[in-house]
Amino acid sequence: MDELTARSNIYGLLSRIMLQELDVEILNTLMNDKTVLEFLPHWNEWEQRTSVAPQKLLEEYLNPDFTNLSLLHLVPYETFYTRADQMVETGGANPVTDIYSAYDFIVDYAVARVVSADHIGVELEFMHHLCQAQMKATQEGDTDAATELQAVQHRFLNTHLLQWAPMYLINMKYESRTPLYYDAAEMALEFILSDNETLTTDIAKAP
């Protein structure tokens, strides 16, 4: 169960970092949570993290970097990487929409502020929700549902995130101008690859 909690938390954390600019509240978590800081070693060591006031840190360092990485320079959308014409599919033909719908998920664009449902932050949050659902099923003793949800996670990782996110994350890592996003890119890349191996192994072991 700890493992599941850990996966859920990490997907949640990475989703939030990748989705939108940070705010002071989340920044506080990133600055103060020791476990988080262990995951983000360069950020941890970065002098400005502690010497610059949080609002200034956001406005002058982190948010400009985020804007560059997800709006101006790089394109954090699956279809940009998977379509031959490199067009972001903003309509109903986006390949993730059907999967979300199948599990009664619907993207609230007013909250997400993305142009389509295949944004990396949205896909990572979807994984987070699947983990949460698996936890709930496990707690309620519904083994079939828990197993199924694990399989869904594995499938979603392989048919979507792993198909393109590594490319984006590698780009992100080398384009980043702050340690936070550098570390977050590396952490995300390593985590999704690792998580895939975990799931592959666990599913293979299952009766």
């Binding site: 997907y11 954390l13 619907i106 983990c131 390593e190 690859l193």
Partner: protein
């Protein structure tokens, strides 16, 4: 490696804040998502088809389009009780109808919102075989016209005590108007003399139906049905009449290899263009080439493979150049020519051969009368039409003509064309261009073939006036309606016996020209000097005809037009001078059977008042079944808006001949309910069922309709379109059918026993009245229907033309030198380059349409007016503009000069736009601009005070039984006037597109000057449909009213008003504004007289008949005696 890091990631469980608290929470799994799952809607449909299958048309749920702008169901889910903020789902009833905004009759479907009983949108009709679910900008404008805030809401009457044109109006009732007009019509008809039968005139603009009102006029016994045709297309029809005795061309665009457009018509504006453009696109996708011949670079020309800008009116020279090469390079399809050209008639007419030799049309007499001799004669005759000659006369570069010939030959027998307006309508004698076109197409055997060119009557369905079996008196198909025994000289004047249609644009001139009336009365004819009743229908003769001031003069004169009324849904220049304006419906508000020859098939559409149909299909019944459409429109909040079919049924039975003494009442009395007018369902069930056997069989065997009281009507009510016959090729080769002692040709039956075969295989037989007719032709032992000509072949020698004094034009011909141009001036355009002697003189090309304008009716559609603003300047070739010092945007005076009389007509002021897209020496300016009105608003206070009756109390909702049970009582009668929704007593006049002008006229000179542009306004009526009426950035000026400056130019043969002008360009003078016009309409009368007297060859004391009996005399059936004439010396 990664499994190692797994242990690291396990630390994630130790976050101080759980992931669930960190995530942004971009997913909702609430009602929005469930609402999508529970609905039929998806963002990933299997098909992108716009249209649901027919079985869902009575109830079709569709997501609201406006809400899609918010992001659709992915963001908001589907609206439901649990998810009120979701995307609205409309519950539609889809009712088919047909567009009426041009002549093509493309299919439409009205999407009637059941909850509000309004039309939310108009779309195409996927069941329509010609338009195939598609429409142009004008088609979609039907909705804005339906909910036009300025639409006329009730019958209007000129205020008692006021004069025509003062602009004082009162609200009246349908009953009052029908009583007054019906009595005047009945009293006039009751006189029974010849003059009264010519004095109740109906004058149709765009008919958009196939024979209904003509049938009414036939039952009234009147020869006074008038149409706009001679300002439209008669020069385009004349070549078809002379060649095939048919009304017009019928192309097979979709299968053609060469699409040969003689204008911008067909592909970017004008006849059938939306359907044609689709078929042309199909053909080009398959590799077809397109040639556009037009002095102006139209949209079509811009997309063509070859643009040929010929000097206006010289097109025949190009066709005859092609003919010369085809003949002399032995590229003729001899088999076709031998079979279907009437060569025997020519080769056996020694008198004519001698004439040709004498006139130099041929250099030597033929040595024999066989087919080879004929071919030799043709080679000889057309040899002078060399490349050098064609280049000199047409001003087209040689390389283009050579390219054209290559393409012509490459296309084989798959050359499709359409001869209609543009060149033909613009130029004197340009009917010969069409005839020469048919000639060279015929030489290649491309007539009647797949991908070729054919003729109209095989491809059209005309049954609108043939519902007679549903009436007491008409008999099946109108067989018992007496033929008319009088000839109206106002519509068919003796000077133009071969006029294609009525000389309608001369009506005010003929009524003014008392000397002309006296001349013919003295010679024994009975020419009316006035009209008792004049009824234009959806027509605006003041604005669209040449010499508009003359029209105003006559319309204002109550001694020349005693009672006038316009059946019109909108305000127009003409309505302003009427006694009554009676609002009848637009495309989705009226019944019409309407068919056009848009491809080689016979299809019809069925225009319907969609809101009435939706009500009836929901279970509503009208209180007065004869006024069901009027009741329905009142229920829908459109106002007291009716339709013509029910209006005329009621008029004939209850107002013109209420006691039946004129014999008219029984003609429109229902057989099922004697004493009452026939109903829509009764009439159309008979009209379609009696005349379209395949449709009838389909309808009565379809379980959805077999139990209906009127199954054929019900079938078309639900489908809106029908195709009786497809793939009609080489129909002239159809064999005569023999049944029960009768022989059938072209659908008509003759006595088989009387059949005989004459010269050149022509088969004759007697009809039911014992009259002998040419019914077919025998070739190689096969008895075929042939063409409708006297020789049953294509008449490239029109022998009968010699009887009507036009012998020199019996063969395709164009003057070959200056001497012939002077002698054969009837074939030379009045704007030929030989008349352009001044350095600032030009040929003005006026005959083209803007694709988004509908003659008169565009001005009530905001989006059509918005996109057409400032689109009607003077196109002038760049170097011509430079030479004369005109720059883009300059105002110019365009002075119109007649080349027959030498008289000036006046001028209009227009904006210069220098362009490479127009031929040097010519100008272009569409004559579809320059709308005007004299005031912005009309106040009719009794429109409020007289409307006290609430049409309904229940909310408008098709699922509300109370609403369906209600209907206004005594509709149209005094005391039953209904309240008009949101009507304040004052309404605008064409507020979206017509500026205010000042008009002055003194009987000889007229002036018009625009004084106020249009402005944004807050629409009160239909406010929800006109939310952006305040957003008007344009001033409404759509060009100059050049038609008023134009003098009538009657073509001496076809009777066509030849629209082009010789003009002199001058810089604008101080005080001139674009849009100003100055007209010497006294001179214009003299211009018409000059064309008449110097060019026409009318009846004389040797004449025995008014017109050839075998060619079409449109609209009403005349008794043979009506043709007889005796002209005193």
């Amino acid at each position: 490696m990664y499994l190692e890091s797994r242990r690291t990631f396990l630390k994630g469980a130790a976050f101080t804040v759980a992931g669930a608290a960190i995530v942004k929470g971009v997913f909702s799994t609430d009602a929005a998502a469930e609402s999508v799952e529970n609905s039929k809607f998806t963002n990933t449909p299997d098909s992108l088809s716009f249209y649901p299958p027919l079985d869902q048309w009575n109830s079709f749920q569709e997501l609201d389009g406006t809400d899609w702008k918010r992001g659709g169901i992915d963001r908001h889910g589907v609206q439901s009780e649990e998810n009120p903020d979701g995307i609205l789902v409309n519950d539609f009833m889809i009712v088919p109808t047909a567009c009426s905004n041009c002549e093509a009759s493309c299919g439409l479907t009205a999407w009637v919102d059941k909850k509000t009983f309004t039309v939310k949108k108009y779309m195409g009709n996927p069941l329509h075989p010609g338009s195939r679910g598609r429409n142009c900008a004008k088609g979609y404008a039907v909705q804005s016209q339906m909910y036009d805030p300025d639409r006329i809401p009730f019958p209007l009457k000129r205020a008692p005590g006021s004069k025509r044109g003062e602009g004082k109006w009162i609200r009246t009732t349908w009953d009052e108007a029908m009583t007054t007009i019906g009595k005047k019509m009945g009293d006039t008809i009751r006189k029974g003399d010849d003059l009264s039968k010519k004095s109740v005139m109906f004058h149709v603009g765009r008919p958009n139906e196939n024979g209904f009102v003509p049938q009414v006029w036939e039952t009234l016994g009147l020869d006074s049905y008038n149409s706009h045709t001679n300002i439209c297309s008669s020069n385009g029809r004349t070549p078809t009449i002379w060649t095939a005795n048919d009304d017009r061309t019928s192309p097979d665009w979709a299968n053609a290899k060469l699409i040969f457009l003689n204008s911008s018509h067909a592909a970017d504006a004008g006849h059938y263009f939306q359907q044609s453009a689709g078929f042309i696109a199909d053909a080009r996708k398959k590799g077809a080439k397109m040639v556009v011949m037009d002095p102006r670079m139209s949209n079509s020309a811009g997309m063509s493979d070859l643009w040929i800008a010929a000097w206006p009116g010289t097109e025949a020279a190009i066709y005859l150049y092609l003919a010369n090469r085809i003949l002399n390079e032995n590229m003729t399809d001899k088999k076709f020519v031998k079979k279907w050209f009437n060569w025997e008639t020519l080769m056996n007419d020694q008198e004519h051969l001698n004439f040709m030799l004498q006139k130099g049309q041929i250099t030597k007499a033929p040595t024999g009368n066989g087919f080879d001799d004929y071919m030799d004669l043709l080679k000889d005759m057309y040899a002078p039409y060399t490349l050098e000659y064609a280049v000199k006369e047409t001003h087209v570069p040689a390389y283009k003509l050579e390219k054209l010939y290559e393409m012509f030959i490459w296309a084989g027998d798959a050359i499709s064309t359409y001869i209609w307006r543009a060149a033909a309508a613009g130029n004197r004698g340009a009917w010969m261009g069409g005839r020469a076109a048919y000639f060279c197409i015929g030489l290649r055997g491309a007539i009647g073939t797949e991908g070729g060119t054919f003729f109209h009557h095989w491809h059209v369905i005309s049954v609108s006036g043939k519902g007679g079996s549903s009436t007491v008196g008409q008999g099946a198909g109108g067989a018992d309606v007496p033929k008319i025994k009088v000839w109206n000289e106002l519509t068919w004047p003796p000077e133009w016996p071969l006029s294609t249609y009525e000389m309608s644009y001369l009506l005010p001139h003929l009524l003014t020209d008392t000397a002309w009336q006296k001349k013919w009365n003295d010679r024994g004819l009975k020419v009316p000097s006035k009209l008792a009743v004049y009824i234009p229908r959806m027509y605006n003769p003041v604005w669209i005809n040449p010499d508009g001031f003359r029209w105003i003069e006559v319309l204002k004169d109550e001694t020349k037009m005693e009672l006038t009324m316009n059946l019109s849904p909108v305000w127009s220049e003409t309505n302003w001078y009427m006694d009554y304006v009676l609002p009848v419906g637009l495309a989705g508000e009226r019944h019409d059977q309407h068919s056009e020859a848009t491809f080689p098939a016979r299809w019809t559409s069925f225009r319907q008042p969609v809101l009435r149909v939706a009500l009836e299909k929901s279970g509503w019944k009208a209180k007065n079944p004869n006024r069901a459409t009027l009741e329905a429109h009142v229920k829908a909040g459109l106002g007291e808006v009716w339709e013509e079919n029910e209006f005329w049924f009621d008029m004939c039975v209850n107002y013109i001949d209420p006691d039946g003494s004129l014999g008219i009442k029984k003609m429109w009395e229902s057989k099922r309910h004697p004493g009452k007018p026939v109903t829509i369902a009764e009439w159309y069930d008979a009209a379609f069922g009696d005349n379209l056997p395949k449709l009838k069989e389909t309808a009565i065997n379809d379980e959805r309709y077999s139990k209906e009281e009127f199954p054929v009507y019900a079938y078309l009510r639900d489908h809106g379109a029908w195709m009786e016959e497809d793939k009609i090729y080489n129909a002239m080769e159809r064999e005569l059918k023999f049944e029960d002692g009768e022989v059938i040709s072209h659908g008509h039956k003759f006595d088989a026993g009387s059949m005989s075969i004459g010269a050149a295989g022509v088969i004759s037989a007697k009809d039911h009245e014992g009259k002998e007719k040419k019914i077919g032709i025998e070739i190689d032992g096969k008895k075929m229907e042939g063409f409708e000509t006297l020789t049953r072949k294509l008449e490239f020698f029109t022998q009968w033309a010699t009887d009507w004094h036009w012998r020199e034009y019996a063969m395709p011909f164009y003057p070959r030198n200056d001497k012939e141009k002077t002698e054969m001036v009837h074939l030379v355009s009045h704007v030929n380059h030989m008349y352009m002697k001044e350095e600032n003189s030009f040929a003005l090309n006026t005959v083209f349409r803007l694709p988004y304008n509908i003659h008169t009716r565009s001005a009530n559609s905001k989006h059509l007016m918005e996109i057409s603003q400032n689109h009607d300047p003077i196109w002038i070739y760049t170097k011509d503009a430079q030479r004369l010092g005109f720059k883009r945007g300059d105002a110019m005076r365009v002075k119109i000069v007649d080349t027959v009389s030498g008289l000036d007509s006046g001028y209009f002021v227009a904006m210069a736009v220098p362009t490479e897209g127009v031929m040097p020496g010519t100008l272009a300016c569409s004559h579809h601009g320059g709308r005007w009105k004299l005031t912005n608003h009309v106040t009719i206070p009794n429109g409020v005070s007289d409307g006290k009756i609430d049409p309904s109390t229940a909310p408008r909702d098709l699922s509300n039984k109370e609403f369906l049970n209600e209907s206004p009582a005594n509709i149209g009668k005094a005391g039953a006037q209904t309240k008009i929704d949101d009507y304040s007593g004052t309404s605008g006049i064409n507020s979206f597109g017509v500026p205010v002008a000042e008009l002055q006229m003194d009987g000889k000179v007229g002036k018009l000057k625009y004084v106020e542009g249009i402005k944004g306004f807050k629409a009160e009526r239909f406010a929800q449909y006109n939310r952006d009426s305040e957003n008007i950035w344009w001033d409404g000026l759509s060009g100059s009213w050049q038609n008023a400056v134009a003098a009538p130019h009657p073509d001496p043969i076809s009777g066509m008003h030849c629209w082009h002008h010789k003009v002199i360009l001058e810089p604008a003078q101080p005080g001139d504004k674009i849009g100003d016009i100055f007209v010497n309409y006294d001179n214009n009368l003299k211009v018409y007289q000059a064309w008449r007297d110097q060019l026409s060859r009318g009846l004389d004391s040797n004449s025995t008949i008014r017109r050839p009996r075998h060619i079409k005399r449109p609209w009403v059936s005349l008794d043979p005696s009506a043709y007889d004439v005796h002209i005193k010396s």
